[in-house]
C-alpha cells in the first residue's frame, strides 16, 4: 500500500522542475484539505490518502508532459476521486465498498472547478477524537493533515517505524469503524474537544523541539509544521482564546531557536542568550496573538504558558526583575493543571525570589508515579539549585542523572561542564 509521503518523494525525485515545484506547493498547501474532503463522507482516511498519493504520482507524469493545470487542486481532486472509484471497483467487498463507490461517483459529477471546502478542522477533530488513543493523535494528525509518512513520524517520536505504521493503520480503521464524524463538534462540546486537538499539536511541537533541537532538519521542520497546524486552527476558529494562546506559546519558543546555540554549537541557557538573536517579528506576532486572546476573557493553560514566555522575554530584554509575576503565572498553571512539571518551574522561580533553600523546599519529590524521576529538566533544575546551595556531592549526582537522561549532545556537554565547575 502506498503512503502519502512516498508520492511526495517520487515528486521530489523525478519530473520536470516546474511540475515538481508545483506539485510540492500543492502538496504543502492542500494535502490535508484534499484528504479531509475525500474522506469526509466515507470516513475512510486510509483510502483517501492512497487515492491522493496516486493522484500526486499521476500529476507528476501529466504536469511534466502537458504543463501545470489552471487549478491544480481541482485536478488532483478529480483524479483522486477516479482512483477511489477504481479502488472501490477492484475491492467489490460488499456494502462498504459500494457505498464509497456511490459517494465518489456522486462527487465526481460535481463541477471540476468548484471551490473545495476546507474540512481540515473536521479532520483534526476526528484525529483527536476521544476514541483515538491519546498517544497516536499527534502522529495521526501529522500524517492525515500534513502527509508525513510513517517512517518520518516514527523517527520524530523515537519509536519503531513498523510499530508506528501499525498504530496509524489501526487508528484510521478505528475512525472508519466507529463512524467518527468528520465535523467540528457543536458549541457545547467545542472547548473540551478543542483541548484535545491543541494538546496533540503541542505534543508534535514538543517532540520537534526537545529532541536535539536545531541539529536535525526534520525535527526543526516539525515545530514549523505544528505552528502551521495551529495557524490553521486559529484561522478556522478565530475566537478561541486557547488556540491563540498555543500559537503565541509556540511562536515565542520558536523565536528563540537560533539563540539557543552558540556559534560552536554549544547550548546557551535563556539567561545567557542575546535578545538580538531572537526573531523579533515572531515575538511581535506572539504578543499580538496573546493580546487578542486576552480580549476573549477565558483564561487557559496555553495562554498562561504563553504569558510566561512573554514575561521571560520582557525580563531579558529590559533587565528588569519580574520573577514575582512569573511566580504568579506558575501558581496559576499549577492550580489549573496540577502538573508536576509546573511545580518544578515554580520552584525555580521561588529560588530566584527567595534563594536556593526556598526553591529546594518547593521542589516536588520525584517518584515513579509523577514520572519526575525520568524527567530530564527536573534533574537539571534540582542540580542547579543544589549547586547554588553548595551541596556539591548531591548536585554532582543530580547533574549525572540530568546528563544521562538527555538525548541532546549539546545539553549533555553543558551539564557536564556545570558538574565540572563544582570541583573548584
Amino acid at each position: 500500500m502506498s503512503r502519502p509521503g512516498e508520492a511526495m518523494r517520487v515528486i521530489v525525485g523525478n519530473g520536470s522542475m516546474a511540475a515538481r515545484a508545483e506539485a510540492e506547493g500543492v502538496a504543502r498547501r492542500s494535502y490535508g484539505k484534499l484528504v479531509a474532503y475525500l474522506a469526509a463522507r466515507s470516513g475512510d482516511v486510509a483510502a483517501a490518502e492512497d487515492a491522493l498519493s496516486e493522484a500526486f504520482a499521476a500529476a507528476l507524469a501529466d504536469w511534466t508532459a502537458k504543463g501545470c493545470p489552471q487549478n491544480p487542486e481541482a485536478w488532483l481532486l478529480t483524479v483522486a476521486r477516479r482512483k477511489l472509484i477504481d479502488a472501490g471497483r477492484r475491492q467489490r467487498t460488499g456494502d462498504l465498498a459500494s457505498g464509497q463507490l456511490r459517494i465518489a461517483a456522486e462527487e465526481l459529477e460535481a463541477a471540476e472547478d468548484e471551490e473545495i471546502p476546507d474540512r481540515r478542522l473536521a479532520l483534526m477533530f476526528a484525529c483527536a477524537d476521544p476514541r483515538i488513543e491519546s498517544s497516536v493523535r499527534a502522529p495521526l494528525m501529522l500524517q492525515a493533515v500534513l502527509g508525513l509518512d510513517a517512517a518520518a513520524i516514527a523517527s520524530v517520536f523515537l519509536v519503531s517505524p513498523a510499530a508506528m505504521g501499525k498504530r496509524l493503520v489501526r487508528a484510521k480503521a478505528a475512525i472508519k469503524e466507529a463512524g467518527i464524524p468528520f465535523a467540528p463538534p457543536g458549541r457545547d462540546e467545542l472547548h473540551g474537544r478543542l483541548e484535545a486537538v491543541l494538546d496533540a499539536i503541542y505534543a508534535a511541537f514538543a517532540e520537534g523541539w526537545t529532541q536535539q533541537l536545531g541539529t536535525d532538519a526534520l525535527r526543526g521542520d516539525l515545530a514549523g509544521e505544528a505552528i502551521f497546524l495551529t495557524r490553521l486552527v486559529v484561522a478556522l476558529l478565530p475566537d478561541e482564546p486557547e488556540a491563540l494562546g498555543l500559537l503565541a506559546l509556540m511562536l515565542h519558543i520558536e523565536a528563540r531557536r537560533a539563540a539557543r546555540r552558540s556559534a560552536d554549537g554549544d547550548y546557551v541557557p535563556l539567561a545567557e542568550q542575546n535578545p538580538a538573536h531572537w526573531d523579533a517579528g515572531m515575538i511581535d506576532e506572539a504578543e499580538a496573538a496573546l493580546r487578542r486572546a486576552s480580549t476573549l476573557h477565558a483564561i487557559g493553560r496555553y495562554q498562561l504558558e504563553a504569558a510566561l514566555q512573554s514575561a521571560h522575554v520582557h525580563r531579558c530584554r529590559t533587565g528588569r526583575d519580574n520573577w514575582r509575576d512569573v511566580l504568579r503565572l506558575y501558581d496559576a498553571i499549577l492550580v489549573l493543571t496540577g502538573s508536576p512539571v509546573a511545580a518544578v518551574n515554580r520552584a525555580l522561580a521561588i529560588a530566584e525570589l527567595q534563594g536556593a533553600d526556598a526553591g529546594l523546599e518547593a521542589m516536588p519529590e520525584a517518584s515513579p508515579e509523577n514520572r519526575l524521576n525520568e524527567y530530564q529538566p527536573y534533574w537539571a533544575a534540582l542540580a542547579e539549585l543544589l549547586a547554588r546551595q553548595g551541596a556539591a556531592e548531591e548536585a554532582r549526582h543530580a547533574y549525572d542523572i540530568a546528563t544521562g537522561l538527555s538525548s541532546d549532545p549539546a545539553i549533555r556537554r553543558f551539564l557536564l561542564k556545570r558538574r565540572e565547575a563544582l570541583r573548584v
Binding site: 549525572d400 542523572i401 546528563t403 551539564l415
Partner: protein
Amino acid sequence: MQYLLILYVNEAGWPELTPAQQEEGTAAYMAYSEALRKAGALVASNRLRPSSSATTIRTADGKPQVLDGPYAESREQIGGYFIIEAPDHDAAMAWAARCPTVDHGVVEVREIWPMSEYTRR
C-alpha cells in the same frame, strides 16, 4: 521486559579524541549508566576491548576453524552493550535515544527472549 542495546562504534574514532574529549565521553557514559541505575532500569553493562582482540571459532568441514578478528569486518564494530529493563519496546527506544553512542555510532535495540518462553519443563 529486558532489552539488549548493542552499541556499534567506529573504533578508529576514540584514539583520535583529545584527552579532554575522551574524559567528556567517559563522563557521558557514566552519567547515562547512573540515570539508568536511578530509574531502576540497569541490568548490566560493559565496554568491550577493540575488535582487533576478537577471535572467532566455527566448524568447517567437521573441523574447528579459528580466525582472528571480529565476525563481520565493517567500519562500525560492537564497542559495548547495555542490558536494560523496560516496560515495552517504546520505552527501550526512549532509553536508546539517550545513549551517547547515538551521536557517533549506532545503537541496536533487541528484546531479550526469556528462556521460560521457549523451554518446556
